[in-house]
């Protein structure tokens, strides 16, 4: 296998390499008895965890529980919204996962009994486990924004879980007449994909500039700062002057209610009438985490930074967007890296070993135009029970990089996606 280069499968293999490298020489594994691991959620975290476990110890019985037969990836779905990509390019099946010896169970998990160590499924099935890995992603807080309910997402799509919603927002933008106002409502932290709303605004601006130049886009924000902010704002000024307006929390950006019938979004200061409204709702760990008793008052799940074990329930580990992973953002790349570290820890725990401290990497690419990419990277390690940044590492692309570097990062972004999805789904 291949170079540590974008477009190649190798570089992600190293995303949690510390943990895997530390695990492999352990003689304990050679004398392992088998154990049963159930993984709930076949997204970036869960699918990676299931496959990695099987690879680390083929004698483990690993079951992956996933509600849908086909996974639709969110990374790069902003490109689908503006017609630069097809939704089909975002979709992945579980054939390879099953071929790796992971038992795939297509069903929704509806209950968990931490004491009895069993999972109940919507189809009436029950699975018992030695260790449970929960990687269910996010749910929206339907009580978090007055006026915004499940019944109104057709009028004001969130497009924050990729699929039909992505296509709906795309159709609404395509149908909008030149001169229309696009409004994005961005939530407070934490939420899935911190740079996502701003990448979306950038690509919509690109679309408007090239096809509907009299139009405008406003981002109404519930916060005062955001990921890669200066890079985004510099790019907007250079590429889309006058087209993108960002209204911060302290300038009255927080949307306090919406009226989907009237297509209005209201803040403490003004009411905005939108031609197209994209409401990114406040979020929490998906519901199964509440049912398992592993989410706390914040709605998210605390974890141990070495094993990803929940401090709230025995034998349950939480990964990906659902977890409170300290300095790590809620990204697909982070989910994949955490899954490898957690799989190594679980395989070690099942044979009575002591898991090694992982060193985790995250890299998030954002496109501000098809040929203009920017990144934020970080390296993380456990300190005092938290995943924190390794000092001196990570950070964002340089503010003063030439166009050639932005173009290079845009093309590396494609390699990043291909590598990540191939690593996860095969």
């Amino acid at each position: 296998m291949t170079a540590l280069r974008p477009g190649r499968r190798a570089f992600l293999k190293t995303a949690a390499v510390g943990a895997a490298a530390a695990l492999l020489p352990r003689p304990a594994l050679a004398q392992a008895t088998s154990g049963r691991v159930v993984v709930i959620g076949g997204g970036f975290a869960g699918t990676t965890a299931a496959r990695t476990l099987k690879r680390l110890d083929p004698r483990l019985a690993v079951t992956l529980v996933e509600a849908n037969a086909q996974f639709t990836a969110c990374p790069f779905s902003n490109e689908v919204i503006v017609g630069l990509r097809d939704l089909g390019d975002q979709q992945f099946g579980y054939d390879k996962v099953a071929r790796d010896g992971v038992e795939l169970r297509l069903a929704s998990a509806t209950g968990i009994d931490p004491q009895g160590r069993s999972v109940t499924l919507a189809d009436g099935g029950r699975l018992s486990y030695d260790r449970l890995i929960l990687a269910p992603g996010v749910d929206f807080r339907w009580d978090g924004l007055p006026g915004y309910t499940e019944a109104t997402i057709e009028r004001m799509p969130h497009a924050w879980k990729a699929g039909e919603q992505t296509l709906l927002l795309r159709r609404q933008l395509a149908a909008m007449s030149d001169g229309g106002l696009v409004v994005i409502s961005a939530p407070a932290n934490p939420y899935r994909c911190p740079p996502g709303p701003y990448e979306r605004a950038s690509l919509i601006a690109h679309y408007l500039k090239t096809t509907k130049p009299k139009s405008k886009i406003i981002i109404l924000d519930a916060k005062d700062a955001f990921s890669k902010q200066r890079l985004f704002q510099n790019a907007w000024a250079a590429l889309y002057p006058g087209l993108v307006e960002w209204v911060s929390l302290s300038s009255g950006g927080k949307v306090t209610s919406v009226d989907p019938g009237m297509m209005t979004l209201t803040t403490d200061f003004a009411t905005h009438k939108a031609a197209v409204a994209n409401v990114i709702p406040p979020q929490k760990a998906a519901r199964i985490a509440d049912l398992a008793g592993v989410s706390d008052r914040t709605g998210w799940c605390p974890i141990d930074p070495v094993t990803f074990a929940s401090p709230l329930q025995p034998n349950i580990h939480v990964l990906g967007d659902a977890a409170i992973a300290g300095a790590m953002p809620k990204s697909a790349f982070a989910a994949n890296a955490q899954a490898k570290a957690c799989a190594a820890a679980v395989a070690t725990l099942l044979v009575g070993g002591r898991p090694a401290e992982p060193r985790l990497i995250n890299t998030c690419y954002s496109l501000v135009a098809p040929d203009y990419g920017i990144t934020i990277a970080g390296v993380y390690h456990p300190v005092n029970g938290q995943l924190v940044d390794v000092e001196g590492a990570g950070g964002v692309s340089p503010l003063d990089a030439p166009a050639s570097i932005r173009a290079q990062e845009a093309s590396f972004a494609n390699g990043w996606f291909n590598t990540l999805t191939a690593e996860t789904f095969g």
Binding site: M1, L4, R5, V17, R359, I361, T363, A393, G394, I405
Partner: protein, 53 residues
């Protein structure tokens, strides 16, 4: 494109050292390499070098 998995660990260690010092042109590897010490890099490189397709 050079292959790094299954490649000579010494080459990976040198590349990482150059990424850290800024001698080797990079878009992100400089920021990533700075998160690993020389010892950690050697461990990872040895592990990578031992991987097969």
């Amino acid at each position: 494109m050079p292959r790094v998995l299954g490649q000579d660990p010494a080459g990976i260690v040198i590349a990482m050292r150059e990424f850290r010092s800024g001698q080797r042109p990079a878009t992100v590897m400089d920021r990533i390499a700075k998160g690993f010490t020389e010892d950690e890099t050697q461990a990872i490189a040895a592990w990578l070098g031992a991987q097969k397709d």
